[in-house]
Amino acid sequence: MSSSLALDQVTVTGRLEAVTAKLNRGGIKAICGPNGAGKSTLLSVLAGLLAPDAGCVRLGAAQVDRLPAAERARQLGYLPQAPEIAWDVSVETLVSLGRLPWRGAPASEAQGAIDAAIAAMDLERFRHRPVTRLSGGERARALMARVLATRPDWLLADEPLANLDLAHAATLMRRFREQAQEGRGVVLVLHDLATAMNHADRVLVLHHGRLVADGPPGHALSESVIREVWGVEARWLGEPGARALAIG
């Protein structure tokens, strides 16, 4: 039940180099790094969508890229960067797509999961609304609800806060926190270091495909790490939990 995700010397030629880390469920993990550092690649590897050229990813005892596709899909929920929705489906239909890996499960169970996901993302009012008539923030929540409807052990999201305004980003982070408190593993690729600093329990910093820092945010995103990895002089301001980054 408490299956952890373990990266062992994971290498993807030209993108990741010998990344080793063990992620336990509960708590929010953030993957940070400059553009091109390998953040999305690492998340794809964790999600079992990309097989590493060397090393392996284990979910509990099983190797992720060797799991049967449906089994993997039931355990690892993945939200890609800039997700698309090809057809103008309703929110409820969109969320129901999260049940696809559970072929053969009773309909009542499916409906229960869909309802719970819609409630968890506070989308009750939009249940029957076509997705093209949602705001960016509502759409992001609907896509998140789709991942939740699968009831995965892990939520892996690639820059889920991109293009969201402050209020919607804060709401979504709160939802991620709730999911982590329920015992799910939450791994987010985050561009905004202040968000990672304030909301993550553990931060993994990638630089040129290597894991250069891994630990609590105060340690992994220290001013010296930021100087070394991002190449900017930066200073953390404010209190823990409400920090802001001053650059220059």
Binding site: S44, A69, A73, L79, D88, V89, L97, L100, P101
Partner: protein, 321 residues
């Protein structure tokens, strides 16, 4: 939500099929059994033709809905695959070589052409399972087959063969018999069954390729099944009826707003509506008085389809599809 349009379409078909049998150059009055040769006209001419319209229309409608779902594009058409061009090329070669004189060999040639196009498509695109390479490969095959067809026409051994080819390419259900039904029915049914198998994967693709894979879709398996499913339905339809365009494009469009818009909910209504559209269009071709024979079905559908396509493009520009 899909139950209602499905039910309506079934009722419409239940009405349209018997009525279509009565219409034609000779109108048959069901209350006046005096019409000469009524039984022969009904059982040997019109019934196979109606059944063929249902099979071909149903197949093309399903293939179109599946293609649009697979390519995540409302402008996709089964013709994009290159399979119909491959089948047409096969048929043209049967005219060219004279084998078309044997009634069984024309569809066999067409099916070989379709199979060749499918194999080529799988060979080029099958490695990575991606949609972009696949679309380009399909377009390449379609244009190559089109060029070879033109070459064959321009080098026709006799003017008669040339006129045969050109007429055949226009697509029609005229003068078809039970023989064509027996060729098309099993292949189309098999193709539709394969497409029904991938319906859930097509739903997952609504969220894009990466998310679909994370939901357990295996892209290479999906692509292989798409090639087989569309190849069988479209190949069979070209083999017995020639090239009939626009059904696979228009029908899923008309049906989509009546469903919850998931690709899987669209397959059955598109099959039924495709069958209905082709049946009605074929009746129209039969009863329109035209000097020198009847209107070709392929032409009639393109005449309806082209303005519809334009309407669709304009609507998409306004962002309301």
């Amino acid at each position: 939500m899909t139950r209602k349009p499905t039910l309506l379409l079934v009722c419409a078909l239940a009405l349209a099929v018997p009525l279509s049998l009565l219409a034609g150059r000779v109108w048959i009055d069901p209350f006046d059994p005096q019409t000469r040769n009524a039984a022969v006209i009904l059982l040997q001419l019109r019934l196979p033709r109606a059944v063929l319209a249902l099979i071909v229309g149903g197949g093309l409608g399903t293939a179109g809905a599946a293609m649009q779902g697979y390519l995540r594009n409302p402008l996709a058409d089964p013709g994009l695959f290159g399979v119909s061009s491959g089948a047409a090329l096969g048929a043209v070669l049967s005219f060219w070589t004279g084998y078309a004189a044997s009634v069984y060999l024309l569809p066999v040639f067409a099916l070989i052409g379709a199979g060749g196009a499918m194999a080529l498509l799988a060979l080029i695109a099958g490695r990575d399972g991606g949609v972009a390479l696949f679309t380009l490969a399909g377009l390449m095959i379609a244009s190559l087959a089109g060029a070879l067809m033109s070459l064959a026409i321009s080098l026709s051994p006799t003017p008669f063969a040339m006129s045969e080819i050109v007429t055949w390419l226009m697509g029609a259900l005229a003068d078809r018999s039970w023989r064509e039904v027996w060729i098309a029915a099993p292949l189309t049914l098999a193709g539709v069954a394969v497409l029904a198998l991938v319906a859930r994967s097509l739903d997952a693709l609504t969220l894009g390729e990466a998310a679909a894979r994370s939901l357990g879709v295996e892209p290479r398996r999906l692509q292989a099944l798409m090639i087989v499913g569309v190849g069988l339905t479209v190949g069979a339809s070209v083999a017995v009826a020639g090239i009939i365009g626009f059904v696979g494009l228009i029908v899923p469009h008309l049906m989509r707003p009546l469903t919850d818009r998931r690709p899987s909910s669209l397959l059955l209504p598109s099959a039924l509506a495709g069958a209905l559209l082709l049946l009605l269009a074929d009746v129209l071709c039969r009863i329109l008085p035209l000097a020198g024979g009847e209107l070709r079905l392929g032409i009639a559908l393109s005449l309806i389809g082209a303005p519809f396509f334009l309407h669709l493009l304009l609507k998409m520009r306004r962002g309301s599809v």
